[in-house]
């Protein structure tokens, strides 16, 4: 008697799933739990920031029109996404207790979703070289803590701009000499399928330890180069 009942339940399943075809959802509780790791992390992290990020799984997935919404029983809040798919996830007890959903306006399976740590940008655009080294080490330490670093070490940091952004990144040595960092096309973060950004790699080994890195405009993101 139980078996037919169970089979009936199974038969009804696709109906529930089908209703959500054009949108995908993420459990807010699961997202909250992943994101709270960074908040509870007790070691130095003043140069780091943590976003909730939607990463396209392949190059055919477009970011155009992508929208992330937090749907609770009473409200729908659109979370702003940057060009790299990153959003600030609010830590809300109400949303947690509601068992809210984060809704992405795309079919399931197009994006990977989860926490994404990067280096904070500065409004003045002036970064002490020593700070960038510390920032990279902080990021590496955090990835080790969350079990993702896998024996890598810090080689530098990378500044990312949109393709049409004419920004420049310069090195100001302690003695007063300046030099421009070379620009190339590439992804903002290692392993991303999104290509076509203007990226400036600042490799620690290639430049003196003292000095500053000066950007002419705020980058989209600063990534650690781990090798």
């Amino acid at each position: 008697m139980l078996r037919p009942a169970f089979l009936l339940c199974l038969a009804l399943l696709p109906a529930c799933v089908h209703a959500q075809e054009d949108a995908d959802w993420i459990s807010y509780r699961d997202a909250y739990r992943q994101m709270i790791w960074f908040e509870k992390y007790g070691k130095p992290k003043q140069f780091l920031q943590n976003h909730f990020r939607l990463r396209p799984r392949d190059q055919t997935v477009s970011m155009d029109g992508l929208r992330l919404t937090l749907n609770t029983k009473s409200t729908k809040v659109t979370l702003a996404l940057d060009a790299l798919g990153r959003a600030v996830l609010p830590f809300s007890k109400a949303a947690y207790d509601d068992n809210a959903e984060l809704v992405v306006n795309r079919k399931p399976g197009q994006f990977k979703a989860g926490p994404w740590v990067s280096i904070v940008t500065r409004p003045d655009g002036v970064y002490a070289a020593a700070d960038l080294r510390v920032a990279c080490e902080q990021l590496l330490a955090y990835l080790r803590y969350s079990g993702e670093a896998g024996g890598k070490s810090c080689a530098g940091v990378q500044f990312t701009y949109l393709k049409n952004d004419a920004a420049q990144v310069q090195i100001h040595a302690a003695g007063g000499a300046t030099a421009a960092l070379a620009v190339r096309d590439g992804p903002a973060f290692a392993g991303d399928v999104m290509q076509g950004f203007r990226v400036f790699a600042y490799r620690f080994a290639a430049w003196p330890e003292a000095g500053q890195v000066v950007t002419s405009a705020t980058p989209l993101a600063i990534a650690a180069l781990l090798e």
């Binding site: 509780r29 739990r33 790791w37 509870k40 068992n99 399931p108 803590y145």
Partner: protein
């Protein structure tokens, strides 16, 4: 559940239901609770007995203060301040048993269904894998038992599906083994048998969770258990290796 096999409980819903990163890190005063029901079947029944499909509860609760409850009758608390490890005290319900329950149990000991106290330690290896270990003082047998295992899960193979595999071994001291598997001819048993401490069982399991929404979950699994040599030789044991399967729906409150 087959009362002969106290080690073989429904695969802990909580281990597989929750994300592997699930540390009790939630807003103060909040909780995360799954309640549901599953159909379960086992090949553990003796030859000649029917093997009914039974309804079993699915339950897993975690509170922000670190206390958790799982469907296999385990209550515990996580004391770890960091996410990489989990440890704390545990209380586990154990099945009672009486020699008159079943023909196979004649000459065996009566077991009280008292709560066993112990602790656990889990270590996250990265890549959604973890080592698990538990140690209990069995209050009815007045002895130690425990288990160690490895679990790994995969959550990005398909959207909303999580697969996990686990392997483990459970160990029991001599007094726990005797309480479960010792038989006296004088008490009506077929022969005298006294086991010593050692490996109680090896087990391997697989679990598949399908999150239909943020509220509904379809959870299914199978596990194989092979009893250790000491239990296997006992007259109360008819099958050394057996299979458990289950599938059910849970609602996330």
């Amino acid at each position: 559940m087959n009362k002969l096999l106290p080690f073989i409980l429904l695969p802990l819903c909580g281990m597989a239901v929750a994300d592997d990163r699930a540390v009790p890190m939630m807003p103060d005063g909040s909780r995360d609770m799954y309640v549901g029901v599953a159909l379960a079947a086992s090949s553990a029944a003796a030859a000649g007995e029917n093997r009914p499909v039974v309804l079993r509860p699915l339950l897993q609760v975690e509170w922000s203060n670190g206390i958790f409850v799982s469907g296999s009758g385990v209550v515990g608390m996580n004391f770890s301040p960091v996410a990489r490890v989990e440890y704390g005290p545990l209380l586990a319900a154990s099945n009672s048993r009486n020699p008159s329950d079943n023909h196979r149990l004649r000459g065996s000991h009566t077991i009280d269904g008292s709560w066993d106290a112990g602790g656990y330690f889990n270590y996250y290896l990265g890549d959604d894998a973890r080592l698990t270990s538990r140690l209990f003082y069995d209050t009815s047998a007045r002895g130690l038992r425990g288990d160690v295992g490895v679990q790994k899960s995969w959550s990005s193979l398909a959207p909303h599906h999580t697969f996990s595999l686990s392997v483990g071994v459970s160990l029991a001291g001599a007094s726990v083994m005797r309480e479960r598997y010792e038989v006296f001819r004088a008490a009506g048993g077929p022969r005298d048998y006294t086991p010593s401490g050692g490996i109680a069982a090896f087990n391997a399991g697989a679990n598949w969770n399908w999150a239909l929404s943020s509220k509904w979950l379809l959870t299914s699994g199978a596990s194989v258990t092979r009893l250790g040599p000491e239990p296997a030789d006992s007259p109360v044991v008819e099958r050394r290796t057996f299979l458990n399967v289950y599938s059910g729906f849970a609602y996330r409150f």
